[in-house]
């Protein structure tokens, strides 16, 4: 029953959809410190958190290990705990803020002359800044001169920064697959400015397939790999400026453009049809109704992102992950199906969208 989508009004705005983090690098020496930091972060106790990091450094743990195997490990746990409904949105933000602050304890190193200059930025509308911050700090620790531009950097700012500073490469971070279209425009713009791009973050797929698809010059699964790749030698010079549709020929069918343009109407119409089909919705509070609309909007956003990269799994993974999140909050996953049906009715003229919706339905169907 679709109405169940809205039962849990304390559910945050899906900030972390798809935000599962890969397993950390094993470092046994770091694990006890990570546990201590986790306890401090869980108690929202910034000062104890700062002490843990100071003590870990004093105990001789390598700064990069403190950064990635202590602070990074805690941040990964924040993501999984939130998904399992063991952390509220307030806890999550507080934990991230504390993690962000304890990074300041790490030693500051003067950039080595032989290393170059790197710009690290999050894609426009991407709020998850911490993975990019971890990359910046890792590169700094390894002697690079780093310009860290933070969360949601409009592409125009990024390009202007590139012209000002002339970096050797740009590291572009994105966690949510819904940012892939914006990531693509950022990648092509940076390359057109003659600078190679390394992409990283969960949005680009566990194996970096979307980084390749969108024409990034390199991809790294985590901060260490990013630093290793840059240390191995300069990234190859980007291909000359070209049209986005050269990378993604499927965009020529205009499905992405048309569906993205009509998405507010799609959300509205789907919402109204749900109301007609499920009279119980009429008794919802305004807030419940808004949450339902938000759920539909998320489904449409992921559908358009999947259309952009033409990948069933972008849409399917989102639905499966959403189903898991809903289950953790006691909502049956089948509540998503009527939305898919209604969307397919409206998008029957769009073959790729229909294929994605079918694939989504298959992904949601429990295997025997």
């Amino acid at each position: 029953m679709t109405g169940h989508l809205t039962e849990h009004t304390d559910r945050p705005g899906r900030r972390d959809v798809g935000g599962r983090l890969p397993a950390p690098h094993g470092d046994d020496a770091a694990a006890p410190w990570a546990d201590k930091l986790w306890t401090a972060v869980r108690a929202a106790d910034e000062y104890t958190g700062l002490d843990v990091v100071t003590d870990a450094l004093a105990a001789g743990l390598d700064p990069e290990s403190v950064l990635l195997d202590v602070i990074g490990a805690v941040q990964r746990k924040v993501g999984t705990e939130w998904a399992a409904n063991r952390m509220s949105v307030a806890d999550e933000h507080a934990a991230t803020a504390i993690n962000d602050r304890v990074i300041a304890v790490l030693p500051v190193r003067r950039p080595a002359d032989s290393r170059g200059r790197i710009t690290v930025a999050c894609v426009d509308q991407e709020w998850h800044a911490l993975p990019a911050r971890l990359v910046s700090e890792t590169l700094r620790l390894r002697g690079w001169q780093v310009d860290y531009l933070g969360a949601q950097v409009p592409t125009a700012h990024l390009i202007s920064h590139i012209h000002r500073t002339g970096p050797d490469a740009v590291c572009l971070s994105s966690s949510l697959p819904t940012r892939l279209p914006l990531a693509h425009s950022a990648i092509t713009a940076v390359q057109a400015a003659g600078t190679p791009v390394m992409a990283g973050g969960l949005a680009f797929g566990a194996d970096g397939r979307y980084a390749r698809l969108l024409g990034a010059d390199a991809w790294a699964p985590d901060a260490r790999a990013a630093a290793d790749r840059l240390a191995a030698g300069p990234l190859s010079r980007p291909t000359p400026a070209h049209q986005a549709t050269d990378d993604l020929p499927h965009l020529r069918d205009q499905e992405y453009t048309l569906v993205a343009k009509s998405s507010p109407r799609l959300v509205r119409d789907t919402f109204r049809s749900l109301e007609q089909r499920f009279p119980a919705m009429r008794d919802y509070s305004d807030e419940q109704r808004e949450r339902t609309a938000e759920d539909i909007a998320h489904i449409v956003t992921f559908l358009t992102a999947a259309l952009y990269v033409d990948a069933d799994e972008v849409f399917g993974d989102f639905l499966v992950w959403t189903a898991e999140v809903l289950s953790a909050r006691g909502v049956p996953a089948r509540s998503l199906l009527p939305c898919l049906d209604l969307l397919k009715e409206q998008l029957h003229d769009f073959p790729r969208a229909c294929r994605l919706l079918d694939a989504g339905r298959t992904a949601l169907t429990p295997r025997p």
């Binding site: 929202a44 507080a94 803020a97 962000d100 002339g166 400015a193």
Partner: protein
């Protein structure tokens, strides 16, 4: 279908005679002896004699006359194509056609194409970057790849040192600064000056200083200094080096180098202008950018700003946090909104911020401060008005004490630990319109973990949401604020910004400013002045 019969050949001349052929013709027998040759052939190959073996040209003498494929080669300074006709008696008739003009045209076409390709590639590579160092690198690299064995780009400078980017014979690009006067190299000073225009200048490699020759380059054969023409400003000079074993520069190569230098010079001076403009706007903008906030006097401050247009970094919203001074023992926070957007509004925010800064000693009386700002704004030539909210902040034991005054601005929200959200009880007239302004100050205490949230109407009036055109409104802001109970100041600001941003989506929005004042929670609160642990709160 009927086919027309073959045209009868009887009666027509069976062969064109060798003598009458309009081109040189040589008949060779199976043994390679010259059987016959016409006048044209005799003139072309004066050494060839009937009955003797053909000795030159070798490419024709050794050609296989039994295969019906043409061969080609040079005779003197001309190119010929020789078509064989094999006769029944085993002799071969070679018909020679002069292809010199065609070959030259093909060669020139290829050369022209490659020049065009080079200039096109050079233009797109040079156009890509507006960064001077990158432009210099691209110029040096392209020059080495297409024009010379190594190249140096030297930028003009007012300093006594020369910024140099070199690309050596291995393609390795290095940046360096040479501490030598340009007049140690003949022609360099003139080339760097940019005016009056000077032509490319050849210099004797023996007179070139060491810094001009890349390490391991070997003996220099030729060296030319080409000025880079700029857009009214000097752009620098390009030095091309060739090794001894390479040919010196041909006329065509020199003119190509000139065309390339024109493009490189334009790109480099555009990059220089861009950098200069940026330096100017950065200097002017520095005062207008919102400050970076941090913890002060044991109170957490965090701010977030988003200009209405993503390409801009400043707008009509502003905030400042002034630490306590001798005259004013409290921290003063100001957040406001000037009517209008963009640069013009930002300039006015700068004036208001400066006025408020000057009035800091009067911060104990918000009402008086607002009256003075109001007078200052009304007497200035600006016709705009502003709303703002002031907060005087003081730590008292573990709590934070606030005096809050709104001047026509949305009242701050107080986020209590239990998630209750209250509106501060303050109200006042906006600034810059009426001759007299009134205001009411609210006093608020924050327990550890509680936050006072200041914001501009860019938050509440943001349009968007899942259904497209809904106003974010006070109710949603309060709900979002309630979720922030107990969060650190940065997290509150990030959360509110994020929720607003998600609400807006791709839509248009006004300037948005958010500022959080939070009483810190945590174990070390009492150790504000501690020596080691807990020092972070200071």
């Amino acid at each position: 279908m009927t086919s027309s019969p073959a045209r009868p050949r009887t009666g027509a001349p069976s062969t064109v005679s060798v003598a009458a052929a309009p081109c040189p013709v040589v008949v060779l027998d199976a043994g390679g002896h010259v059987a016959q040759l016409n006048d044209a052939a005799r003139a072309l190959l004066p050494a060839a004699r009937a009955g003797r073996p053909l000795s030159s040209p070798a490419w024709l003498a050794t050609a296989d006359g039994t295969r019906p494929e043409p061969v080609d080669g040079e005779v003197g300074d001309r190119s010929f194509l020789a078509h064989p006709s094999v006769l029944a008696d085993g002799r071969t008739v070679w018909w020679l056609t002069d292809e010199t003009a065609y070959r030259t045209a093909v060669g020139e076409l290829e050369a022209e194409r490659s020049r065009t390709r080079f200039l096109t590639d050079a233009s797109s590579a040079l156009l890509a970057s507006l960064n001077l160092e990158r432009s210099m690198e691209v110029t040096a690299r392209l020059a080495t790849e297409h024009l010379a064995d190594a190249a140096l780009v030297i930028a003009p400078t007012a300093a006594r040192t020369l910024p140099v980017v070199a690309c050596d014979h291995r393609g390795q690009v290095t940046r360096s600064t040479v501490t030598e006067a340009p007049d140690t190299v003949p022609g360099l000073a003139e080339a760097l000056r940019g005016f009056p225009p000077v032509p490319s200048r050849w210099i004797d490699p023996a007179t070139a200083p060491d810094w001009l020759i890349p390490p391991g380059f070997g003996e220099v054969g030729s060296l030319v200094i080409t000025p880079l023409p700029g857009l009214g400003v000097p752009a620098g000079a390009l030095v091309l080096l060739r090794r001894v074993q390479q040919d010196a520069f041909s006329e065509a190569e020199e003119s190509l180098a000139g065309l390339f230098a024109a493009r490189a010079g334009a790109a480099m001076s555009a990059a220089r202008l861009y950098a200069e403009q940026n330096a100017i706007s950065d200097t002017l903008m520095r005062e207008l950018l919102p400050p970076t906030l941090r913890q002060m006097q044991g109170v957490e401050f965090a701010g977030g700003y988003r200009a209405s247009r993503d390409t801009e970094r400043i707008g009509g919203d502003f905030y400042d946090v002034h630490p306590p001074t001798e005259d004013s023992p409290e921290t003063l926070v100001v957040l406001g909104d000037v009517a209008g957007k963009g640069l013009e509004a930002a300039v006015l925010t700068g004036k208001i911020r400066n006025t408020l800064h000057a009035l800091l000693p009067m911060a104990d009386d918000h009402g008086r401060m607002l009256r003075l700002v109001n007078n200052a704004m009304r007497t200035s030539h600006h016709t705009r008005f502003a709303t703002l909210v002031m907060a005087s902040v003081r730590r008292e034991e573990r709590e934070v004490v606030l005096r809050l005054t709104s001047a026509g601005h949305p009242a701050p929200l107080i986020i209590r630990r239990d998630g209750t959200v209250e509106e501060a009880d303050t109200r006042g007239t906006l600034i810059g319109v009426l001759p007299a302004v009134t205001s009411r100050t609210a006093r608020v205490r924050l327990a550890p973990g509680e936050t006072c949230l200041l914001f501009t109407d860019g938050v509440t009036e943001a349009r968007g949401g899942p259904l497209g055109d809904t106003m974010f409104g006070d109710r949603r802001l309060r709900r979002a604020a309630a979720e922030c109970a107990g969060m650190p100041a940065e997290a509150v600001v990030e959360r509110i910004q994020m929720v607003t941003s998600q609400w807006i989506g791709d839509g248009r929005h006004d300037d948005i400013a958010v500022l959080a004042i939070t009483a810190p929670r945590g174990a070390h609160l009492s150790a504000v002045d501690g020596a080691t642990r807990g020092r972070y709160t200071a």
